[in-house]
């Protein structure tokens, strides 16, 4: 419509015809676009739904469509000490990595955003650099470094390596918020007599809560799920859940694996809803 409206010449047959042709093309284009978008939506959601569906099957093998309905595989899961231990290990690793990452990231972000010092560009580049590397490289490098200084694979090694891997997420989230924060808020607090420390805790940190929660949640999830770093740094005697699951996926074909996966999907969904309520989903994009 707009084509003919803005033409200065009167709408001749030629113009009208061309308008119709482009209308047909537009309709085809819009249809293709919509079809692909629907495919993408299915691609994003259906695999998880299939895993959940299969976790309730009564058959002893993975098959589609699932047959009957049973919680047996979930029961099996909780009966296996090996898996419970691995889950506990993963929770410990996740908690420790999150605390360590945030403890390093919050002051680092503050220094990088508010500080004026020589080599600030270099420091920021170093702090976000690990994010550009595949987890495998960080895992391998830590393993080698450990071997070099006679430090064995262990939960501690997983935590130290994962913190390197996760630090950039946390720093960038806090930095993003801090950059938007008006420095005058801090100056206002100072001019009212508050110390820098008090200002940081009562004013600055309060404004960063959302970013800290979002960043912390991302680190916690990544540290819990991570396989690429953990595979190289975890001790064979206390394996985190991700490594345990990796072995199960390769060597166990029972629907119990689907049950474990379903639980992880469920947990991720709960975390996301909580995050969306707490800080808003848009925040998660940074």
């Amino acid at each position: 419509m707009s084509e003919t409206m803005t033409t200065s010449r009167p709408a001749t047959a030629d113009v009208a015809e061309r308008g119709n042709a482009s209308k047909v093309i537009d309709r085809i284009g819009a249809t293709i676009l919509a079809i692909i978008a629907v495919c993408t939506v299915l691609l994003l959601s259906v695999p998880s739904l299939i895993v959940i569906a299969i976790s309730f099957t009564e058959t002893a093998y993975i098959g589609f469509p699932p047959q009957g309905f049973t919680f047996q595989w979930y029961a099996d899961l909780f009966a296996r000490d090996q898996i419970i231990d691995a889950a506990v290990t993963s929770l410990q690793i996740s908690a420790a990595t999150t605390c360590l990452s945030l403890a390093l990231a919050i002051p680092a972000a503050y220094g990088l955003v508010r500080g004026r010092f020589f080599g600030r560009g270099f420091a920021s580049a170093l702090i976000v650099a690990p994010q550009m590397l595949p987890g495998m490289v960080i895992g391998v490098a830590t393993l080698f470094f450990g071997a070099y200084i006679a430090f064995r694979q262990s939960n501690l090694m997983v935590i130290l390596a994962l913190t390197v891997f996760c630090l950039p997420f946390a720093v960038r989230m806090v930095m993003a918020r801090l950059t938007q924060l008006d420095p005058a808020l801090e100056e206002a607090s100072l001019s009212m007599g508050a110390s820098k420390t008090r200002t940081f805790f009562e004013i600055t940190a309060r404004q960063l809560v959302g970013a800290i929660i979002a960043g912390g949640a991302f680190v916690a999830i990544e540290a819990f799920d991570n396989l690429t770093v953990a595979l190289f740094t975890a001790s064979p005697r206390s394996r985190p859940l991700s490594v345990e699951l990796y072995n199960l996926v390769q060597f166990d074909s029972s629907p119990m694996v689907a049950a474990l996966s379903s639980l992880e999907i469920l947990a991720a969904f709960v975390v996301m809803i909580v995050l969306a309520k707490a800080v808003g989903l848009d925040r998660l994009r940074t």
């Binding site: 084509e3 803005t6 482009s22 209308k23 093309i25 284009g29 293709i32 676009l33 692909i36 978008a37 993408t40 939506v41 994003l44 959601s45 695999p47 998880s48 299939i50 895993v51 993975i62 589609f64 390093l104 990231a105 002051p107 990088l112 500080g115 004026r116 010092f117 080599g119 600030r120 420091a123 170093l126 702090i127 650099a129 590397l133 595949p134 495998m136 490289v137 391998v140 490098a141 393993l143 080698f144 470094f145 071997a147 070099y148 390596a161 913190t163 390197v164 820098k196 991570n226 396989l227 595979l231 991700s242 990796y246 694996v257 996966s261 992880e264 991720a268 996301m272 989903l281 994009r285």
Partner: protein
């Protein structure tokens, strides 16, 4: 006392708050990376340095091995094809995200972010279920519909690996595209339509070029992730399916030849950076118009 110490640290110039993180990365990132580099060029036996002799032997071994180049070629085309299909599937959804109401936008965003919070391993496992064997979802459906009489062999192939990579890396493509597309100036499209261009033409001549920064961000991330992923090829590609990343894992964890593993890891890293650099430079050439803004 403690408070005044913190005060002093914070007053002493901007660097001090960043110092712990900086120090941490020097010890647990820079030094390990240095050791990784060294292990590629110095003989190693069971994690201990045998002699401090610098040697290019491992590098030459790898580079003169035909097998390596075949494996590398697979890493490369799997990375390229995954990135291409990721872009193909991501763009329409990201574009539609900017055209629909707030509710639907939220749904699209949740659908995109949710997989990010689920472990990649679980999502890879889903593809084992979908593509796997005669009882896999696809074969079950195809056979029920009578379209095929024998189950198709889909798992343990390039196809399976690329499908897995595309699905698992989709969010990393969609999010930067949404960011750049939702901040675009709609007036340009109205202007294009007003000048008589069709919507399709407007899309290809205006919307697509304007979203170049998001395209570069998305493609570099997805390429780097696909090129260096070793879990998906191992699970969906099967036993004989190797890429450079898979070889790194095998040499270090299974064969315990750390010299070869280190040099392969370094080659993987360096080549990955080179490709990312090439994508960025090529992309920047296509958006020289952004330079005029400054």
């Amino acid at each position: 006392m403690a408070a005044s110490l913190v005060d002093k640290v914070m007053k002493g110039g901007g660097f001090w708050p960043a110092a712990p993180a900086f120090l941490y990365l020097v010890v647990f990132f820079i030094m390990p990376m240095a050791v990784l580099l060294a292990f590629g060029f110095v003989p190693i036996q069971r994690g201990t340095v045998q002699s401090a002799n610098f040697t290019l032997e491992y590098l030459f071994d790898v580079l003169t091995d035909d097998l390596f180049w075949r494996v590398w070629w697979r890493s490369f085309y799997v990375g390229v094809l995954s990135t291409f299909f990721c872009f193909l599937f991501a763009y329409p959804l990201a574009y539609i995200h900017t055209l629909v109401g707030r509710r639907l936008q939220m749904v699209i965003l949740i659908l995109t972010v949710a997989p990010l919070l689920t472990s990649a391993l679980v999502r890879t496992y889903a593809w084992l279920v979908i593509l796997g064997g005669r009882r896999g979802v696809v074969n079950a459906v195809l056979m029920d519909l009578g379209l095929v009489s024998r189950p198709l062999r889909m798992l343990y192939s390039d196809f399976a690996v690329i499908v897995g990579m595309v699905q698992i890396h989709l969010p990393f493509m969609i999010l930067p595209l949404i960011t750049v597309l939702s901040s675009r100036d709609r007036k340009l499209e109205h202007a294009s339509l007003g000048l008589g261009a069709s919507r399709v033409r407007t899309f290809f001549r205006i919307v697509l070029p304007m979203s170049m920064p998001g395209i570069i961000a998305g493609t570099t991330i997805v390429f780097a992730l696909s090129y260096t992923n070793f879990i998906i090829p191992q699970l969906l590609g099967g036993g004989g399916y190797t890429t450079v990343a898979v070889q790194v894992y095998e040499f270090i964890v299974v064969i315990l030849d750390w010299n070869k593993g280190a040099i392969l890891a370094l080659l993987l890293l360096v080549s990955c950076f080179l490709f990312v650099l090439m994508i960025t430079l090529a992309g920047n050439r296509m958006m020289r118009w952004t330079e005029a803004k400054a």
